[in-house]
C-alpha cells in the first residue's frame, strides 16, 4: 500500500520540474545535518562560495601555458595538481585531476555516467547538459553522434576515447591548439579555450571568432 491509497477527491499537480523537489530535499537534509551537529551552516556556505568562485578561466590558463611551453605540458600530463599549483591555481581538495591531450590522431571527451563528476576546482560548476541523462547515456553509447550535435565532426581514422569518470579521477582535456595562433600570447590563447573544449565536446575558438558556449 502506498500513501496514494486514498479517495481521489483532490486535484494532483503534475510535477513539471524536478529541480524543486531536489532543492527541497537538499534543504531538509541540510537542516537535519545542522541540527545533529554533523555540519555547520557556515561550512556549507563556504563550500558553495568556493565552488562558484571557480571558473573555466583557470583551466584555460593551464591549457594556454601547455600550448606555449612543451615542458609545462609534460608536467601537466604527468601531474595536473602540481602544474596547477605552479600557475598559482587552487587544484581543490582530494579528487585527483588527470589531464589528457587531444592530438590529430586521438580525441578525448569526458562524461560521468553515474552522476556529474567534473574537475570543478579548475572548471567551475559543470554545465546543465553535462548532468543530463541524455548526455550521460549517449556519450558512451553514441559518442560520435553526440560530438556531431556539438558541431565536432571527427574523421573515421581519428581514435575517439570517451572517459567515464566513475571514481576518484577528474579528467581535463587539453584541446588542440587552433591553427593561425602562432603569433598569439598566452593570455590571447587562453581566451580561445572554451569550457566545452576542455570537456572534449568542442574545439577551441578560432582566433577572431567569438567564443562558442553551449
Amino acid at each position: 500500500m502506498t500513501e496514494h491509497d486514498h479517495e481521489h477527491d483532490h486535484p494532483h499537480t503534475p510535477i513539471a520540474d524536478d529541480e524543486q523537489p531536489a532543492a527541497a530535499r537538499a534543504r531538509v537534509l541540510e537542516e537535519v545535518l545542522v541540527e545533529k551537529g554533523a555540519i555547520r551552516r557556515a561550512d556549507t556556505r563556504q563550500e558553495i562560495d568556493w565552488l562558484v568562485s571557480r571558473s573555466p578561466a583557470d583551466g584555460a590558463r593551464l591549457v594556454a601555458r601547455a600550448w606555449v611551453d612543451p615542458q609545462f605540458k609534460e608536467r601537466l600530463l604527468s601531474d595536473a595538481r602540481e602544474a596547477a599549483l605552479e600557475l598559482g591555481l587552487d587544484p581543490g581538495p582530494s579528487p585527483v585531476v588527470v589531464a589528457v591531450e587531444n592530438t590529430p590522431p586521438v580525441h578525448h571527451m569526458v562524461v560521468c555516467t553515474l552522476c556529474s563528476c567534473y574537475p570543478r576546482a579548475l572548471l567551475g560548476p559543470p554545465p546543465h547538459w553535462y548532468k543530463s541523462l541524455p548526455y550521460r547515456s549517449r556519450a558512451v553509447s553514441d559518442p560520435r553522434g553526440v560530438l556531431a550535435e556539438f558541431g565536432v565532426g571527427l574523421e573515421d581514422d581519428v581514435e575517439l576515447r570517451v572517459l567515464d569518470s566513475t571514481a576518484n579521477i577528474r579528467y581535463l582535456v587539453i584541446p588542440r591548439r587552433p591553427s593561425g595562433t602562432e603569433g598569439l600570447g598566452e593570455n590571447e590563447l587562453a581566451a580561445l579555450v572554451t569550457r566545452d573544449s576542455m570537456i572534449g565536446v568542442a574545439q577551441p575558438s578560432a582566433p577572431g571568432e567569438p567564443p562558442r558556449q553551449s
Partner: protein, 93 residues
C-alpha cells in the same frame, strides 16, 4: 589480485546492493588496463560512514565499443575508458 597495464581484464557481473561506482553497462564485459591510478578508499563502505579501508587500486580500463554495444560495429579504434576499482576486476587472459 594486481593487474598490469595492457592486461586483459573482465568486470565482475555481480549485483551489488547499495552504493557502488561500477556502471552496469560494463559489468561482465572485458577490456584492457590502460592506466593505473593508485589506491583509494572504497566508496562502497565510505558511503555508509565507514573508513573505506582497505584501499582499492583504481584502474582505467578501455573497452571496445562493439563489446559494450553489440551491433554497433564501425569505428574499430574508438574506446570507452572507465575507472574501475580492483575488487571488481578479474583476469581475462
Amino acid at each position: 589480485m594486481t593487474f598490469q597495464a595492457g592486461q586483459r581484464v573482465r568486470v565482475a557481473a555481480r549485483a551489488h546492493e547499495g552504493h557502488h561506482r561500477t556502471p552496469a553497462y560494463v559489468k561482465g564485459k572485458s577490456g584492457r588496463v590502460e592506466r593505473i591510478h593508485g589506491a583509494f578508499t572504497n566508496p562502497e563502505t565510505r558511503a555508509y560512514g565507514g573508513d573505506g579501508l582497505p584501499e582499492q587500486r583504481l584502474y582505467l580500463v578501455g573497452f571496445d565499443p562493439s563489446d559494450l554495444w553489440p551491433g554497433s560495429g564501425g569505428q574499430t579504434r574508438d574506446r570507452v575508458q572507465v575507472d574501475i576499482y580492483e575488487h571488481w576486476l578479474e583476469d581475462a587472459g
